[in-house]
């Protein structure tokens, strides 16, 4: 238990982690509660067109008179959900392939390594473009799955390297001598020893999935039925928000994405300092 107390103690002392976590929590809470305060349907034409922020429409209105605040609130929710799902799927596949390939070695490792290298080179966006274009109806679930399916290679590579070095340690040798199955050794000995690392991989995958989804939505290949922050930017560009100088429509969606992803990156650096005693500032 002592180790946990120490970790939590250092976690709360770490400024980067505190800043990152605060910003992230703010946006998570906003994603949960902001849609409850939205007075309008995000798609409905409810107000005067292209109107700057006012007490009636907190974030102003679009070129067609839709309420930007309602779109933002619903978009934020979807963006976080897609990031969470896509990031989780990418992390899980990365862990699976990294652990298997690193622990088993041999031919299986060669094959998995080859697949990892190929998917690593393939530009994610290109694949997603071609898949999204042919899917007539696209939900956010499909989008998350495909983002996860293309984002795992670097995670797999890093986890494989960690597994390789852990496999040669004495405590793993001991476990092997005790006759435990490979599966059990990987799950009870190797995976827990790199838990902190896996958590950091997840945070980076989370941020990456948000950025990927935003780019895809911006190109017009996101979910067809729902609202996301990327789609808001796509609409803003297509309907001349730039030419009309509608900053209230252009700025909020990207600012939220930047803040969330930036917070995740800063958290990652903070976590690194917490988990790695060498980096701690005493």
């Amino acid at each position: 238990m002592g180790a946990w107390y120490e970790l939590i103690y250092f976690a709360f002392r770490n400024v980067k982690l505190r800043i990152g976590l605060t910003i992230l929590l703010f946006f998570v809470l906003a994603a949960i509660f902001a849609p409850l305060f939205a007075r309008y349907d995000p798609n409905a034409y409810v107000g005067p067109a292209a109107h700057p922020p006012s007490p009636e429409h907190w974030f102003g209105t679009t070129t067609f008179g839709q309420d930007v605040y309602s779109q933002f609130a619903h978009g934020l929710r979807l963006t976080l959900i897609v990031g969470l799902l896509g990031g989780s799927i990418g992390t899980l596949i990365g862990i699976l392939i990294g652990l298997i390939s690193g622990y088993r070695g041999g031919l299986l490792d060669e094959i998995l390594n080859m697949i990892t290298n190929i998917v690593l080179i393939l530009p994610t966006l290109a694949i997603l473009i071609i898949i999204a274009a042919y899917l007539t109806v696209r939900g956010f679930l499909v989008q998350s799955v495909f983002i996860g399916l293309t984002a795992w290679p670097w995670a797999a590579r890093a986890i494989r390297a960690q597994t390789l070095s852990l496999r040669a340690r004495e405590f793993v040798d001991l476990a092997r001598m005790s006759g435990r199955s490979s599966m059990k050794i990987v799950l009870t000995e190797i995976a827990p020893s790199m838990m902190s690392y896996l958590f950091m991989v997840f945070i980076l995958q989370f941020g990456g999935a948000i950025l990927n989804a935003a780019t895809l939505d911006f190109i017009g290949l996101g979910p067809t039925q729902a609202f996301s922050l990327g789609l808001m930017m796509n609409n803003a560009v297509l309907w001349a928000a730039l030419e009309l100088g509608m900053w209230w429509w252009l700025i909020p969606p990207g600012a939220a994405i930047t803040a969330i992803v930036g917070a995740l990156y800063v958290m990652n650096v903070g976590l690194d300092e917490v988990f790695n005693p060498k980096l701690r500032e005493l």
Partner: protein, 328 residues
């Protein structure tokens, strides 16, 4: 070194083969007949739909056995036949893409190379100058977290729309035709600056952070400590650290290519810059699938070529590979 590049070439060929197969497979994997799906989504007049339908049927060759469809697909690809665009019917897809390539290169090459060089220099400086570190690090994190299109939008709005310093759309003014003159070149550069700047800034943040962290790591390494204890001047130690930190940054460039391409696509859309990104947007808006598939193949090919160039540079820079001491 030959073995190293040979190995890389093998991976790239496999990747290309895999990508082309995906390109062929995906329309055929989707539920229903791809031709019916395509035509029904376009909401055309009945007679136009019939013409388009017969064109697609011929292009997809769905009546042939699968293996023959697949071989024919490769055959057409190797002949440079990527189909006909629907958006700009009846222009061939290959021509549209070739017209867009110069703009892509004109935007991407300077942005990638300059941001990489500047990011490395500034990052290395930040590792030893406290005040610079305190300002570059947060700035770098904000920049790498920024979606490319948003920074592009912000620049276009502030410097283009509000301040009126730069144009916000196109590669050159509507009034003039491309020709070789000072006026045209000035106009071209003037339109080029904002898309370039937004790509440059986002990438710069990532390179600066990466270099800073690598240098700090290298300065802690045993060889640096050893040099220090020998009384070597700090300049010399920093030079060695910089050289060692360069290698992961070169690998990083190869790994980032996919993200960079995505960023360029988004940036071109914001500025209506007539590169591949703009083609992709038009293809999506006009349900132009052959154009989309052509852009896909073009991006894959471009990324593979860029990867190979980076591999060659890496092999030249890394003395271990140069002398054949290691395979990877």
């Amino acid at each position: 070194m030959g073995r190293y590049l040979g190995q890389k070439l093998l991976i790239y060929s496999l990747t290309f083969f895999f990508a082309v197969t995906i390109d062929w497979l995906i329309p055929r994997l989707m539920p229903g007949n791809p031709v019916d799906t395509l035509v029904s989504r376009m909401a055309l007049r009945a007679d136009v739909a019939a013409i388009l339908r017969s064109y697609y049927l011929q292009a997809f060759q769905l009546d042939l056995p699968l293996w023959q469809q697949y071989l024919n697909f490769w055959g057409a690809l190797l002949r440079g036949d990527l189909g006909v665009s629907i958006w700009l019917f009846p222009q061939p897809v290959l021509k549209l893409i070739l017209d867009a390539v110069p703009y892509d290169l004109f935007l991407l090459l300077p942005a990638v190379i300059l941001s990489w060089i500047a990011g490395n220099q500034v990052g290395a400086m930040a590792a030893r100058v406290r005040w610079l570190d305190n300002s570059i690090l947060p700035l770098g994190y904000i920049l790498t977290a920024t979606p490319y299109m948003w920074l592009a939008l912000i620049l276009a709005w502030s410097l283009g729309q509000v301040a009126g310093l730069f144009p916000i759309a196109g590669a050159y003014s509507f009034g003039i035709r491309p020709h070789l003159s000072w006026m045209f070149i000035k106009d071209l550069l003037w339109h080029w600056f904002l898309p370039f700047a937004s790509l440059f800034l986002v990438m710069f943040g990532g390179w600066a952070i990466g270099m800073r962290n690598m240098i700090i790591y290298e300065l802690e390494a045993d060889y640096s400590r050893y040099l220090e204890s020998l009384g070597a001047p700090p300049r010399l130690i920093r030079k060695y650290a910089f050289r060692n930190a360069m290698l992961p940054q070169i690998t990083g460039l190869a790994l980032q290519l996919g993200t960079i391409v995505a960023g360029a696509v988004a940036t071109e859309i914001v500025f209506a810059y007539p590169g591949t990104g703009y083609l992709i947007l038009q293809a999506v808006l006009n349900q132009d699938y052959f154009l989309l598939q052509g852009c896909f193949l073009f991006i894959i090919t471009g990324v593979l070529i860029a990867n190979f160039i980076i591999d060659i540079i890496y092999a030249l820079v890394d003395p271990r590979i140069r002398t054949g001491m290691t395979g990877a």
